[in-house]
C-alpha cells in the first residue's frame, strides 16, 4: 500500500486560493479511486480548516481530514508556482500537503500518517521536496523517509 504515487504529485499547481488548491489536489485522489466523493471530502477538509487554518511557519500548508469518502490513507503533494495563502502568519504556503485518512482507519495506516506528520517538521525533508526535480523524486523521497 503506497501513501503517494506520481499521480498524487502536482508540481505546477496553479490555484488562486486555498479552496481551489485543495480541490485540485483532491481531484487526483478521485481519479485514482482513493476518494469516492469529492464534495464530501472537500467538505470535511473545509470543516477542519475552519476550526483553524492549517498553514504553518515556513510556507507550509497541511489541509487534512478524516473522511468517509476516503478509502486509504493518502498524501497529495502540491508545489504552487506562486504561494497560496494558508492562514500562516509569516506568509503564503509554497509546499502543500493534503493528507487524507479514511474514517476509522486502522492503527497501521494511522502510524504512517503520524510518521509523515513528524517528518514535515524536519527542515531537510521539506527542502528536499522543494528541490525535487520531478514527481518520481517526490514519491521516492516520501517512500524512503516515511513509509520505511
Amino acid at each position: 500500500m503506497s501513501l503517494i504515487t506520481t499521480d498524487q504529485v502536482v508540481l505546477d499547481l496553479d490555484a488562486a486560493d486555498r479552496t481551489e488548491a485543495t480541490r485540485q489536489l483532491a481531484q487526483t485522489l478521485v481519479t485514482s479511486g482513493r476518494c469516492t466523493d469529492l464534495a464530501t471530502f472537500l467538505d470535511d477538509v473545509r470543516k477542519r480548516e475552519e476550526q483553524m487554518a492549517t498553514g504553518l511557519p515556513g510556507g507550509i500548508g497541511i489541509p487534512h481530514a478524516r473522511s468517509a469518502a476516503i478509502t486509504q490513507p493518502s498524501l497529495v503533494f502540491g508545489r504552487p508556482a506562486t504561494g497560496v495563502d494558508w492562514g500562516a502568519e509569516d506568509g503564503p504556503a509554497t509546499l502543500i500537503f493534503l493528507i487524507a485518512a479514511p474514517d476509522g482507519g486502522g492503527q497501521e495506516h494511522m502510524k504512517i500518517l503520524a510518521a509523515l506528520a513528524r517528518k514535515l517538521m524536519r527542515a531537510e525533508f521539506r527542502q528536499s521536496l522543494r528541490d525535487a526535480p520531478d514527481a518520481a523524486t517526490v514519491v521516492e523521497i516520501v517512500e524512503r523517509e516515511v513509509v520505511n
Binding site: 497541511i62 487534512h64 478524516r66 493528507i99 500518517l113 503520524a114 517538521m121
Partner: protein, 512 residues
C-alpha cells in the same frame, strides 16, 4: 534536564505528531531529553511511569483534554495549545527549563499539574478546554455548571409534577393547592401538614406529599450546584466550596439562578486567586483543606451578602410598588409586564415579585368568578409555563442546536412546563443567558398579555396542567400559552441558528 509531554489535536492525524516532533527535536537541540506521548488517532503508547517519574518538567501542547493528567502530578508544567509547539518548539523548551529552575528555587511559584484535577479518566470533569477565546471560555464555565445541575432539575421537577398528579387524584381539583402546604418541618397549627410525622402508607395524599417534599428538596440544590460547578470549572476543586455555599446563600436571598451565576463566578475567581498565592512550605499542606475554602467562602459570601443584599431588596420593593401602582391601568399592559417578569429570571427576584403579586391578589379576590385578581393569576401562571415548554419544543424541533444534556433536559421540560415549574428552563437560560432570557421575556410577555386580553381566570396559585379544571375559559388559556410558546421557541431557534452559523464562519480557536 529530562522532560515528558503530551500532544493532541482534534483530528489527531497531523498536528499531534508535528508538535511531538517539534518538542523532541527542540529539546535535543538544547541538550535535554524529552519523550512525548502522542494522544492521536494512531493510538497512544502511554509513557512509561518510570520515565515520568524521572522527568524534571512537563509540557502539555494540546487541544483536547490530556488523558491521564494525574500521572504528571506535582511536576512543573507548561500548558499550551498544540499549535504553539509547532510554531515555537524551542521557545517552549526554554520556558520549560525556566519553570524547572524556578521550581527548584521556590516550588510554590510555578504551575504544577494537580492530581485529581481535570483528568478525563477519573473524577469530576469540566467542559473547559485550553486555548479558546474569552467568550467560549465563559460559555464552557456556564456549561459545566449546567451539566451538573440538569439531573437535579429532572429529579426534582418530575417528583413535583408527579406529586401534583397524584394530589389531583387524591384530593380533587384543589390537589395542587393543598399539596404544597406539606413540609418536613410543619408544626403547631399546621402540624397535620408535617409529612415526616404523619405519613400514611395507605393514603394517596401522603404519597403525593412525600413526592412533593422530596422534589422541593432536590430543587433546593439547583442554584447551589450551578454556582458550585461554575466555580469548579474556573478554579478546579478549590472552587467548589465557595461556589456551593455562595449559591446556597443566593437561594436564601431569593436571588435566583442569576444570583447563582454571580456567586459561581465570584467564588471561582476568588478561589483561583487564593490558590495561586505563593505561601510558605509549612502552610502549603493546609491550603486546600483549610485556607482556600475558608478564605474563598468568606470573601465570596461576604461580598454577595453585603453588596447585593440591599440592591435585591430594593429591586423587589420597587417592582412590587410599581405593580401595586398599576391598579386601574390597562389589564393587557399589566399582563404584558407580569408575563415579561415571569419569563425574565425563572424563579429569581423579578419572577418572585410578579408571582407574589398574583398570589397575594388571590387572597382578596373573594368569591367573584371574574375578579381582576383571578385574571392576573391566570396570566402569571400561563406566562410561567412558557419558557420550559418553549425550550422543550425547541430541542424537539431543532436538536442540533443543543448539547446532549440539554436535549435530555428538553424532554423533562415538557412535563415541568405543563406543571408550571419554570425551573425546567433554567439549564438553558444558565448556559446561554442573553439569548434565552431575551426570548423568554418576549414569549412570556405575549402569553401574559393574551391571557389578560382573553379574560381567562384562575383561582389556584400553582399546578399548571393539573389545575386546568380551576381555569376559567381554559381553551383560551391554552391558546394564549401556545402562542407564547411558539413565539419564544421561534426566537430561540433563530438566535441560536445565527450564533451557530456565525461561530462556524469566524471560529478562530487556537485549537488545531
Amino acid at each position: 534536564m529530562k522532560f515528558v509531554g503530551v500532544t493532541s489535536c482534534p483530528t489527531g492525524i497531523a498536528h499531534t505528531y508535528m508538535a511531538a516532533e517539534a518538542l523532541e527535536v527542540a529539546a535535543r537541540d538544547a541538550g535535554h531529553e524529552m519523550i512525548v506521548e502522542t494522544q492521536g488517532s494512531a493510538g497512544s503508547d502511554p509513557l512509561d511511569p518510570a520515565v515520568i517519574a524521572a522527568a524534571d518538567g512537563v509540557v502539555f501542547a494540546h487541544d483536547l483534554e490530556v488523558v491521564g493528567r494525574d500521572r504528571f502530578a506535582g511536576k512543573p508544567t507548561i500548558d499550551v495549545g498544540v499549535k504553539k509547539a509547532i510554531s515555537d518548539g524551542p521557545g517552549l523548551i526554554t520556558q520549560a527549563v525556566a519553570a524547572v529552575e524556578q521550581f527548584r528555587r521556590d516550588p510554590g511559584s510555578v504551575a504544577v499539574t494537580v492530581a485529581g484535577g481535570s483528568s478525563a479518566a477519573t473524577g469530576l470533569t469540566t467542559k473547559v478546554e485550553s486555548g479558546v477565546g474569552t467568550a467560549t471560555r465563559i460559555r464552557q464555565w456556564l456549561m459545566t455548571g449546567v451539566s451538573y445541575m440538569i439531573p437535579f432539575v429532572a429529579a426534582g421537577g418530575i417528583l413535583i409534577a408527579l406529586s401534583f398528579m397524584l394530589a389531583q387524584i387524591a384530593i380533587g381539583e384543589d390537589g395542587a393547592i393543598e399539596i404544597v402546604k406539606y413540609s418536613l418541618t410543619a408544626s403547631g397549627e399546621d402540624a397535620a401538614y408535617n409529612i415526616a410525622q404523619n405519613f400514611d402508607l395507605l393514603s394517596l395524599t401522603s404519597w403525593a406529599a412525600l413526592l412533593f417534599v422530596m422534589g422541593a428538596a432536590a430543587f433546593g440544590f439547583l442554584v447551589p450546584i450551578l454556582s458550585g460547578f461554575i466555580a469548579f470549572a474556573i478554579a478546579d476543586r478549590p472552587g467548589i466550596v465557595p461556589g456551593i455555599v455562595g449559591g446556597s446563600i443566593a437561594v436564601t436571598m431569593q436571588a435566583g439562578f442569576l444570583g447563582g451565576i454571580a456567586t459561581g463566578f465570584l467564588g471561582g475567581f476568588v478561589a483561583r486567586w487564593i490558590s495561586r498565592w505563593k505561601v510558605h512550605k509549612g502552610v502549603r499542606g493546609v491550603m486546600p483543606v483549610v485556607v482556600i475554602p475558608l478564605l474563598s467562602t468568606l470573601v465570596t459570601a461576604g461580598i454577595f451578602i453585603t453588596l447585593l443584599g440591599r440592591p435585591i431588596k430594593w429591586l423587589m420593593d420597587n417592582l412590587t410598588e410599581g405593580l401595586n401602582g398599576m391598579t386601574g391601568s390597562s389589564a393587557v399592559l399589566l399582563g404584558l409586564i407580569l408575563g415579561a417578569m415571569m419569563g425574565f429570571d425563572l424563579g429569581g427576584p423579578v419572577n418572585k415579585v410578579a408571582y407574589t403579586f398574583a398570589t397575594t391578589g388571590l387572597g382578596v379576590a373573594g368569591a367573584a368568578t371574574d375578579a381582576p385578581q383571578l385574571k392576573i393569576m391566570a396570566a402569571v401562571m400561563a406566562a410561567g409555563m412558557v419558557a420550559p415548554l418553549a425550550m422543550a419544543l425547541s430541542t424537539a424541533v431543532r436538536p442540533g442546536l443543543f448539547t446532549e444534556p440539554e436535549r435530555e433536559n428538553g424532554k423533562a421540560a415538557w412535563l415541568l412546563g405543563l406543571s408550571f415549574i419554570s425551573e425546567g428552563a433554567i439549564p438553558f437560560a444558565a448556559a446561554d443567558p442573553v439569548r434565552i432570557i431575551a426570548s423568554s421575556v418576549v414569549g412570556s410577555a405575549a402569553t401574559g398579555a393574551l391571557a389578560m386580553l382573553f379574560g381567562t381566570t384562575l383561582r389556584a396559585p400553582h399546578g399548571g396542567l393539573w389545575v386546568l379544571p380551576l381555569v376559567g375559559k381554559f381553551a383560551l388559556f391554552v391558546l394564549a400559552l401556545a402562542i407564547g410558546v411558539v413565539i419564544m421557541a421561534g426566537i430561540v431557534i433563530a438566535l441560536k441558528s445565527r450564533e451557530q452559523s456565525k461561530a462556524a464562519l469566524t471560529a478562530t480557536p487556537l485549537a488545531a
